[in-house]
Amino acid sequence: MLKTSQKKPEKLIDENDVRLDGRKLNEVRPVKIEVGVLGNADGSAYIEQGKNKILAAVYGPKEVHPKHLALPDRAVLRCRYHMAPFSVEERKSPAPSRRELELSKVIRESLEPSIFTEYYPRTSIDLFIEVLQADGGTRCAGITVASVALADAGIPMRDLVSACAAGKVEGRIVLDLTDVEDKAGEADMPLAYMPNANAITLLQMDGMLTSEEFEQVVNLALDGCKQVGQIQKEALRAKYVVAKEAEAEKEEAEEGEE
């Protein structure tokens, strides 16, 4: 059983700059991404980032319903970020909250710049993010896993979008805040990034930062995004490169038989 938020510990960072979960200040939680985990979806992926467990599924490009939402020159991207009632300490009502509606909007806006929506006019690409377990930084992990799911769906993209938060906890600039660190800390800044375009596609912040701290936090978050980006690529390679090699081996074997 996880009891993450029962009591706020006295110190979140010890004298050796080690955080509660044993990480260094500039360290991302362990990230594990699996590609193509759902049968029905056109593309899907699953991420574990620390205690966060999130599924993403992509349907489309497909016909738009209701029809009047269709755009003549590009696909519409629709996004739903949703948390399971059991994903947090105290049961969350399954009805979409204002927070979830806002996050659905900013996540959509963070991913749309990466997609060649103009290739699929009059269609929709529907993206569903389900948070199964939450421990801080779910919008970032959601974006990360959604971008992989979009790639898995074979949708042409300019770049993968990687996301990671940085912030300030007990006066220190830290990367990838957990729920406890976010709640007790002084600032949290989720950021999403497309490395090849040098483009920040999501930027939010709450807390208090001086201008120097602000620049440090942005740079640290960018660094986190780059680390996450590597793991995204590896996850995609693990599925597609392995699949391709298996196919090649099979062909070779068949040729040998002849």
Binding site: R98, K105, V106, M194, I200, D206, M208, S211, N219
Partner: protein
């Protein structure tokens, strides 16, 4: 009738001018439109203010109620920000439950006030876990001509700044004093058009922009909230540039409300 969308020719003109450092309405890239702040228009509300930002017009009312604190923070009062994009403000606004735009607007205003700790919420609690004041900040957009966020944040600040608890309206605990504001958050919004940042975009510029960035700055020049919107992106350099301009602009705007 005013048209909903600027024509293509006009959109192109707006974007072209901006790449030459000019704007269609004659402003510089970091100039605000004319700002008017009027406080105390609604006598029934504990605090109220109307802000005019060019033709954009926002009315904010602050109401006080008694209620229960949230179970996870039993010693604190409650702050609730809500925004209504009422249909009389724009042909694009529809009646009905709040859509994602009004929710985003409310949450950006909320973040500025909350994160700057402008209201001493812990002083609002009367009986821990049982009884507290709830502050309702209701943002009412009356005319939409772009940059609702800055207008709403400024109006919310003005309404809170000029608020007073009247006798008879709310029962006040003996010896309890109306809250002074501890901080004055001001939002500064940028639009990115043709890879340039412009401050305080009006409606037609919002139709042309690639992306939007709001930085809320508190009284000591620290940044207390950020929100990026729109389908485009920003580079890190643009974000840093925006934070510098925002600090300077916020101070100018703050003076319109906070006269000390």
């Amino acid at each position: 009738m005013s048209s909903i969308m600027a024509s293509r020719v006009r959109q192109k003109r707006i974007a072209q001018l901006i790449s030459h450092g000019k704007r269609l309405d004659g402003r510089g890239l970091t100039d605000y439109r004319e700002v008017q702040v009027e406080a105390g228009l609604i006598e029934r509300a504990e605090g109220s203010a109307r802000v005019r930002l060019g033709k954009t017009e926002v009315l904010v009312g602050v109401k006080f109620e008694m209620g229960e604190p949230f179970p996870d923070v039993p010693n604190e009062g409650v702050l609730t920000v809500n925004a209504e994009l009422v249909p009389l403000a724009s042909p694009t606004f529809e009646p009905g439950p709040p859509d994602e735009n009004s929710i985003e607007l409310a949450r950006v205003v909320d973040r500025g006030v909350r994160e700057s700790k402008a209201i001493a919420l812990e002083e609002l609690c009367i009986e821990p876990g049982k009884k507290t004041f709830i502050v309702f900040v209701d943002v009412y957009v009356l005319n939409h001509d772009g940059n609702l966020i800055d207008a709403s944040c400024l109006a919310a600040l003005a309404a809170l700044f000029n608020y007073e608890v009247k006798e008879g309206e709310v029962k006040i605990k003996p010896g309890y004093k109306p809250l002074p504001l501890r901080n004055y958050p001001v939002a500064v919004t940028f639009a990115k058009i043709n890879d340039k940042l412009v401050v305080d975009p009006w409606l037609e510029e919002e139709q042309v922009m690639d992306a939007r960035l709001t930085m809320t700055v508190e009284k000591d020049g620290k940044i207390c909230a950020i929100q990026k919107g729109g389908y485009g992106y920003f580079t890190a350099e643009q974000v840093f540039e925006a934070s510098k301009i925002a600090r300077q602009k916020a101070e100018e705007q703050r003076k319109l409300v906070v006269k000390e």
